[in-house]
């Protein structure tokens, strides 16, 4: 496991010009189970999506040390994420796909801190699965967009009907996406960043 990186350019004195640490930025990818979050992340990530896990007991941070009352510390929740290097290697964008159920919201609190915003992926067959994500981002003023995944090719709903069903403000961008397509994913991210920028600059 302990794979050693053997990059001759980062070695000794020649490395000094190359020691700056890139700036990380992140976008949260949310939505119900099986809606295509990992597909979306994987379609544009420069690495195969990686999986990281958080212990559920991070929810009880009141405890400084593990004790018997945090007995669930072996229970974890997984998140798949990808990475995109932008600019001249000085900016790295992370995309974190997160489980949508309200009981995982403790994770979201950390994820949205410092995030550009969120892409909520919606499956028209299971609209209700995205309600809690929409509620969450709305309630915290986190910039978000709604990407309706036409994974199965069927566009049985039009966007207006979906917007109405989600009780979504007209200000929130909403569009069809194909989570498998890199260009489609890129456009979704662009729409979010533009939306966040508009919100940031008032």
């Amino acid at each position: 496991m302990a794979s050693r990186h053997c990059d001759p350019t980062v070695d000794g004195a020649s490395a000094t010009a190359d020691q700056k640490v890139p700036i990380p930025v992140k976008i949260v990818v949310a939505g119900g189970f099986g809606v295509g979050k990992t597909t979306f992340v994987g379609s544009i990530s420069e690495i195969d999506p990686l999986r990281t896990e958080a212990a559920m007991t991070q929810a009880s941070e009141a405890f400084d040390a593990v004790n018997e009352s945090t007995d669930k510390s072996a229970t974890t929740v997984a998140m798949d994420f990808g990475r995109i290097t932008l600019g001249n290697d000085d900016l790295i964008l992370y995309l974190f796909g997160t489980p949508g159920q309200p009981r995982f919201h403790f994770l979201w609190d950390e994820l949205v801190r410092g995030a550009i915003g969120a892409v909520v992926i919606v499956d028209t067959g299971r609209l209700a699965d995205s309600f809690s994500a929409v509620d969450y981002f709305e309630g915290r003023g986190v910039p978000f967009v709604v990407a309706v995944n036409c994974f199965h090719g069927a566009m049985t709903h039009d966007l207006d009907a979906i917007r109405q069903a989600l009780a979504l403000s007209e200000r929130v961008p909403m569009f069809f996406t194909d989570a498998r397509e890199r260009s489609s994913t890129r456009d979704a991210l662009l729409t979010l960043v533009q939306h966040a920028l508009a919100q940031a600059t008032g």
Binding site: H5, I23, T52, A55, I84, L93, G97, G114, L190
Partner: protein, 120 residues
């Protein structure tokens, strides 16, 4: 590719996660998930024994790498990696990316992300 099967958290029968940090669940410094670390130039010699997991972290951090990626490579929960990385940062063995103190990146960073995405 299908979504990952994280509909239900799976109990893992392995070492209790925070055993590696002697029960500490808080890091010495604030380290969000996306924080990028790399081995500090002119890192001081550590005055203690570096454990195997810390050694792996230092090896991986020869190139800039995020806390999330370290967690994935080490197959350790984020909280544990955070404590280990926090110690290494506090000791000056790792440098980390600047910590963002605002809720959202500022407009100049957003512009750079926008331009970067357009160039993809």
């Amino acid at each position: 590719m299908n979504d990952s099967p994280y509909s239900e958290p799976q109990p893992r029968l392995r070492i209790r996660p925070y055993a590696l940090t002697r029960g500490r669940t808080r890091a010495a410094v604030d380290i969000p998930l996306e924080t990028i670390v790399r081995v500090a130039p002119n890192a001081p010699a550590s005055g203690r024994d570096i454990g195997p997991d810390e050694r792996t972290i230092l090896d991986l951090a020869a190139q800039p790498i995020s806390l999330a990626e370290l967690s994935a490579h080490l197959r350790m929960v984020i909280g544990v990696v955070r404590v280990l990385v926090g110690d290494l940062v506090a000791e000056g063995l790792l440098t980390r990316s600047a910590i963002q103190t605002t809720n959202q990146p500022d407009a100049s960073i957003l512009e750079r992300v926008l331009n970067g995405l357009k160039a993809l």
